[in-house]
């Protein structure tokens, strides 16, 4: 394999040009997303006629055209504002101010995908328990500072109506909306940012480790209030990538509701949270409150009170606030009467009165309820293996099925622990590129695709779909990622693993018997990881590698992963299509979750003071490139991302299997009564699927009756 050469300026320009056509590229990607089945053998006449009845490739009927609501940037506030009928009595009896006072003077005007909706109705969905908060966070991601358009490629205003860089990209300034209010009616101003920065972020008791996303070259940024509606993020060095950071699901950019009580999001409701800080309230009183809430101390209390799905009193900015918390069988939400989005006719959003999440004891129950038509909209936890059953029951359940292929490379990635040190012999091989290449070539991805993805996935490496701007290109999807047992065996022989035992398995070079690799596979996840791992173990017999599959419950698996106990860990590499916003599944740089090497991530964020330096030069190169992107513009950074991907793929830092598929959050079951539902939506971490479709515009065509 030739090393990727340095890219010239003209190439980068070409990439820029390509980025502009990225929307069309994305649509093409839909067709290219592996939805053409290889015909097995010679089809018989009966089968041929069945196929002839439908000229389009497999699945095309279920993958619609990418569409979504359009944010009308700089549109003025419509003249006649209207509100949901459920709010009328509250305004009449004076509980709520009139709608003109609740909606900001410059609201976010959104043109729904289909048309103006009608108010009313409660959306019914399923969730799997207190750990499933993302199920609701994603519907409430309207509280991000900066968001994306429905293609997930261009920035759109959200809480911030506009933004600009100044002082050679050292200062990033956002402008808030005049008259914007929290869900309890208090104004949302620059003071909420200052409070977040000074009282939460800078307090090491509350945020023990400063975020790497709020720093450039290890130097932390600052928050400065310019006026009530203007906030600046000030850095020591140019940090043009900060815009992407705010757009991504990062500590800084996730928004308040998605920060999960970790106090990210760059702003916080000062008027409410002050009461839980020792600075504003006597310690004795705080201890008293903590005891009443049955938590350890005021820090735990603050954390509890900062989680919207546990604390219905928390003021929020998203479309729905919590009524019944997530640790109950019915997690319910109702509209935020102060939400800042309106449609072009002046109807304050959301259209839906609320969301009701019903606890499903396990995924089978959840899927069964979806099949029975008990959910109005469910794209989370729906199982691709049940697609034929979903389709069979469409009429009976009065729903339709949409497939939304993701853009990342692999739904079941074998993440290699590059800081594994439990067994020096195993570590030595895991940290050997040729060994990993051989492992990768020992996998028959077509078999996996047909068995576990019903043939709709795209077999390949970990590289993202070629349609996304950071993709290194089509050919990197297949590098080291097609089955070649002969070459794999040859590579393993060449690196010195020539000896085999009686059963044909390669033995350790230190003479301690068979070389056994272990993979952690979480059960009950979106994709059947243990079963896929077992199939790979079977395939690796042909290259003489023994793979033991350890099936683990999610919390246990994650804990052991953070303790650096894993050799291989199977997980989706979701989010890696926008590498800077969500790097954890592509490079070991985020200590929050570093399956690719927890100790390397620690080494990275502590600037080498703690943790473990990568042993491979290629890994150091990739991390250097990643670090250098902070000072680059979006276009330059995308070009750098392509270089990073080339290193990742060529060195097989992790082993991809099948991806660019709808398997994770892409099997969308939509009740036929729902309106403003896009035929296809992007399935991306940073687009907070389905937030890119603005759930606030979803409505019931029949006025809310289910």
């Amino acid at each position: 394999m030739t090393r990727p050469r340095t890219r010239g300026a003209d190439e980068i320009m070409r990439d820029v040009a390509r980025k502009q056509v990225s929307r069309r590229g994305l649509m093409k990607g839909a067709a290219a997303a592996g939805l053409v089945l290889p015909t097995a053998g010679t089809p018989l006449s009966a089968i041929r006629s069945a196929a002839a009845a439908q000229d389009e490739p497999l699945g095309s009927a279920l993958i619609g055209e990418l569409e979504g609501p359009i944010v009308l940037v700089d549109a003025p506030r419509p003249e006649n504002l209207k509100q949901a009928p459920m709010l009328d009595p509250l305004v009449e009896d004076g509980t709520l101010p009139p709608v003109e006072e609740r909606v900001p003077l410059e609201p976010l005007v959104v043109q729904p995908v289909e048309g103006i909706g009608t108010y009313g109705g409660v959306l019914r969905r399923g969730f799997t328990g207190p750990g499933d908060d993302e199920n609701g966070n994603r519907y409430n991601s309207g509280d991000k500072l900066i968001f994306w358009d429905y293609t997930g490629t261009e920035f759109r205003p959200a809480l911030a109506k506009s933004w600009e860089f100044s002082d050679e990209d050292r200062v990033f300034t956002i402008h808030l909306r005049e008259g914007h209010k929290w869900s309890d009616g208090e104004p949302f101003t620059a003071d909420d940012f200052v409070f977040w920065y000074e009282d939460l972020y800078l307090n090491p008791d509350i945020v023990p480790v400063p975020s790497g996303t709020f720093a450039i070259n290890g130097q932390q940024g600052r928050v400065e209030k310019v006026d009530d509606l203007t906030v600046s993020f000030v850095f020591e060095e140019p940090y043009p990538l900060f815009l992407t950071i705010l757009g991504g699901t990062t500590f800084m950019g996730s928004g308040q509701m998605t920060s999960r009580g970790f106090h990210g999001g760059a702003y916080a409701p000062a008027h409410y949270l002050r009461q839980f800080l020792p600075k504003y309230t006597a310690q004795a009183e705080l201890d008293q409150m903590a005891t009443e809430e049955n938590v350890e101390d005021w820090i735990a209390l603050l954390r509890l009170k900062s989680q919207w799905y546990l604390n219905p009193d928390l003021p929020i900015l998203g479309p729905w606030r919590c009524v019944s918390p997530i640790n109950t069988p019915n997690w319910t939400m109702e509209r935020n009467p102060f939400y800042y989005e309106v449609d072009p006719e002046g109807n304050q959003l959301p259209y839906l009165d609320g969301i009701q999440m019903t606890l499903a004891e396990n995924l089978e129950v959840l899927n069964l309820r979806a099949i029975a038509g008990e959910y109005d909209l469910q794209e989370r936890h729906t199982d691709i293996a049940k697609l034929p059953v979903f389709l069979e029951n469409m009429e009976q359940g009065d729903y339709s099925v949409h497939l939304d292929p993701g853009s990342y490379g692999s739904d079941a990635t074998l993440q290699v622990n590059h800081s594994y040190d439990g067994d020096p012999e195993v570590a030595q091989w895991l940290h050997n590129a040729d060994f990993r290449r051989a492992l990768s070539m020992g996998i028959d991805r077509d078999q996996l695709n047909e068995t576990f993805w019903l043939g709709v996935g795209s077999p390949g490496s970990v590289a993202p779909d070629p349609s996304v701007p950071q993709s290194p290109g089509e050919e990197w999807r297949t590098m080291w990622a097609t089955r070649d047992v002969e070459q794999a065996n040859q590579l393993l022989d060449e690196i010195g693993l020539t000896e085999k035992d009686g059963d044909g398995f390669r033995v350790r070079s230190d003479g301690n018997g068979r070389l056994r690799l272990e993979i952690f596979a979480i059960s009950g996840a979106f994709v059947p990881f243990p079963r896929i791992a077992q199939a790979i173990a079977q395939q690796w017999q042909e290259i003489g590698i023994q793979l033991d599959v350890s099936e683990l419950e999610r919390n246990l698996g994650m804990t052991r992963m953070r303790n650096n106990e894993h050799q291989l860990f199977m997980w989706a590499n979701d989010g890696s299509e926008l590498i800077y916003a969500f790097p954890r599944h592509a490079l070991p740089v985020d200590p929050a979750e570093a399956m690719m090497g927890p100790l390397i991530a620690t080494w990275f964020v502590t600037n080498g003071e703690e943790g473990m330096e990568p042993t491979e030069q290629a890994m150091l190169d990739a991390i250097d490139l990643y670090r250098s992107a902070g000072g680059q513009t979006t276009e330059e950074a995308n070009a750098t991302a392509q270089e990073i991907w080339k290193i990742i793929v060529d060195n097989v830092f992790s082993i991809g299997t099948v991806g660019v598929s709808p398997a994770v959050m892409g099997i969308r079951i939509v009740k036929n009564t729902m309106g403003n539902i896009p035929a296809r939506q992007v399935n991306m971490q940073h687009a907070r699927t389905p937030q890119s479709s603005h759930p606030a515009t979803f409505f019931f065509r029949n006025g809310g009756g289910s």
Partner: protein
């Protein structure tokens, strides 16, 4: 229970006897205890013409001189359900011994292109002639329903042959061979023959069920033996000697019985060395469980000892100077042999069920091990019920073998205790 239902009313004719003659013993004369000698009404042909008393006498003679084992066998034979159970159990254990021979495909051989094939029947006749055969299948994923659809190609006939060659295996683990009960002519059975269909990965269910039978039926055997031995010895000591030994053993039993098994099982499964194969781990756990499982039998044995040691014949044996071991094993143990046999035959299905149940819950055996529980565990989802119900078939042998063991145990208990 079955005994009362099936046992004949007293006046029924005896084995091989004609209608009662002056020479023959009337059943009433040996009332009660003779019940075992009595057959069900109409079970045997009515006696031949009178006038052959010698025959009767010979039959009488056979009964009179029969050993206890013969008596047990005679009585057992008349328990039809028990006989049926015994035959079923023997057949199942024949599968255990000959799993590879009865399977025709490597149970691990997978291919996505033959996933989820429905069970396929063998056609026995072709053009009026005896020619067992199957039709070739052509499979493809339906672009609209996303199901894998298999079409029979009636023009392509694949003859099924007996004692055909297939994958290599070793008879009794020693003699290498590649013969299998059935196979196909001129082809690889793994790719053509699917008697019970295939699973998601395209592995042949028939062959997997054969292997699963072996695992599920053997894994509990040792455990049952261990708990049997421990139960009899410790229960015997406790009941026969009483006093301090009794107190210690009884308290030990109480402590052991208070340990919940499923958490113990989970803990042990996590504590086993990683390098052990999953079957080794499970085997070890069943033995550990059996170290706890002897308590019930020990209590029963102790109770019997307590009541028997007060009997006159025990005192008599003691007085004539019989050794304790002789008193225990010659005079006492045979009296509650029925309990031991019943406990054993009923413990085996309990062990099989617990393997199946724990594997079904994901706590027992796990893939790549193949057992009934593992097969059922992989079938516990909506799409199996809706699209591939044949994956639930491994439930059938579980039910069959558990019933068979229970009938067998019941019959054995009755037969072993002819005087009860």
């Amino acid at each position: 229970m079955q005994r009362q239902d099936l046992d004949a009313p007293a006046p029924a004719p005896r084995i091989g006897t004609v209608s009662p003659t002056p020479h023959s013993l009337e059943p009433e004369e040996t009332s009660g205890p003779t019940a075992p000698f009595v057959t069900a009404p109409g079970a045997l042909a009515p006696g031949p013409a009178p006038g052959e008393p010698i025959l009767t006498t010979e039959a009488e003679e056979r009964v009179a001189v029969a050993t206890q084992w013969q008596l047990m066998w005679r009585r057992f034979r008349k328990h039809r359900l028990a006989m049926l159970g015994a035959i079923t159990v023997i057949l199942f254990y024949a599968i255990v011994v000959l799993a590879e021979f009865l399977a025709y495909a490597n149970p691990e051989a997978s291919d996505a292109n033959r996933g989820l094939i429905a069970p396929q029947g063998i056609q026995w006749l072709h053009d009026g002639q005896f020619l067992p055969h199957i039709y070739a299948l052509v499979g493809e994923r339906d672009p609209q329903t996303f199901k894998r659809v298999y079409t029979v190609d009636p023009t392509q006939i694949v003859p099924v042959t007996f004692f055909a060659t297939g994958f290599d295996w070793k008879l009794f683990g020693i003699i290498p061979t590649n013969r299998h009960l059935i196979g196909v002519e001129g082809g690889n059975p793994e790719e053509t023959l699917f008697l019970l269909g295939t699973d998601l990965e395209g592995r042949d269910m028939w062959s997997r069920v054969m292997y699963a039978t072996r695992t599920s039926l053997t894994i509990g055997l040792i455990a049952v033996v261990v708990s049997l031995v421990l139960g009899v010895i410790l229960g015997g000591i406790s009941g026969f000697y009483g006093g301090f030994a009794d107190t210690v053993i009884q308290r030990l039993i109480e402590i052991l019985r208070s340990i919940p098994t499923i958490p113990l099982w989970m803990g042990l499964a996590a504590a086993m060395p990683k390098t052990w194969s999953i079957t080794q781990v499970y085997f070890t756990i069943t033995i550990i469980i059996s170290l706890i499982g002897w308590t019930e039998l020990a209590r029963v044995v102790r109770g019997r000892f307590l009541s028997l040691r007060e009997e006159d014949f025990v005192t008599a044996a003691d007085l004539v100077g019989a050794r304790q071991s002789r008193i225990i094993f010659v005079h006492m143990v045979p009296l509650f042999l029925s309990h031991i046999i019943a406990a054993t035959t009923l413990a085996l299905p309990a062990m099989i069920i617990s393997e199946t149940a724990l594997s079904f819950l994901g706590l027992g055996l796990r893939p790549p091990a193949i057992s009934w529980g593992v097969l059922l565990q992989q079938a516990q989802n909506v799409q199996t019920v809706a699209l591939s119900p044949w994956l639930l078939l491994p439930a059938l042998p579980v039910i069959l073998v558990i019933l068979a063991f229970n009938f067998l145990g019941d019959g054995l208990r009755d037969a072993a205790d002819p005087y009860s």
